[in-house]
Amino acid sequence: MTTAGVLSRPVARPDLLLRRIGSEWVLYDAARAKAHVLNLTAAVIWTYCDGTFDRAAIADAILREVPGLDATRIRDDIDDVLRRFADEGLLG
């Protein structure tokens, strides 16, 4: 699948483990023996990567959950974070 396809309705690889460490989150990829440190925004986006949300729906959901966020900025953040997830091979 192309990166664009992966990002249309992103699906998190089910074998990855998300753990909170302090105020951050660590996503552990055992298959590649690699761990990724996520900030809170990235961790929240990760939880919406179940194949049912497209980027707009993820943004809407986050904006509903956290009122007061800048809508344009959160959409940019989602694009950046999903691209990073895809580049790191974290999406199915």
Partner: protein, 284 residues
Amino acid sequence: MRRIAVAPQVLEFASDDPIAARVLGALYHAAPATTAAPTLRYALRRSATGSAAGWTATAPARADFGPASLGDAWAFLEWRATEDLLNGAGADAVFLHAAGADLGGRLALIVGDSGAGKSTLLAQLMLRGHRVLGDDVVRFAATDGLFSAVGRSVKLDANSLRAMPLIAARCAAAAVGTLLAAGSYYVSPAAIRRSWAAEAGRPWAVILLDPRDRAGAPGLVRTSEGEAAVIVTEKVLGEAAGGARRREDVTVRLLDVLADVAAYRATGSDPAAVAGALEREAER
């Protein structure tokens, strides 16, 4: 002959020669002696000729090393004893390349590559009266998530020793448990303090040592807890990780145990100042 327990192994060090016996006794001097049957046996023997290069070292599952100088034979045994220990940590535990100290009931895990200054900082903390887990190797039991002490001697160089006159004096007097070997001083924690071992526990903080941070004012600065936790997971040593599945389990367990850890980078080039800053943070 000396037998010591480093769970789950029992190491036996033997030599008929009094010099070699003292050498062998220094490395794991602080580990508890035992009469249990040895699981790993090491020996240093002097050849009949008595020449300087006439030493032979024996270790499990290896061809004898030698004849060689005492220094080289010692280095071989140190390497083998460490590797054998790391690869035989048992089903429930692994060893990590890290140092650790107990600051008033708060356990600090000190992490950095070889040469980053773990041993020097740990020695400074020992001199300030803190109990320790070790300067280079600590044990992590995945079952209960506790870090515990390994009774291995602290390895210091002459530069480090210069700033620590008490330890320097112990080494100069060749106190039991101290040893000068090929430019390095081995100092048993038990040669500094009878009750040296920190209680097993979970870390309050991870201290990252990186030579690139030596510039600037000495002290501690807060850093990413996530990055620090990931660095700790990368410090699991040896084949004891036991394959991908075991390593995965250990990594996840470490991340769980480190969920509420504080993370600091040590800055500056004065380990005594860093030790003081660490005490102040622990008292907060």
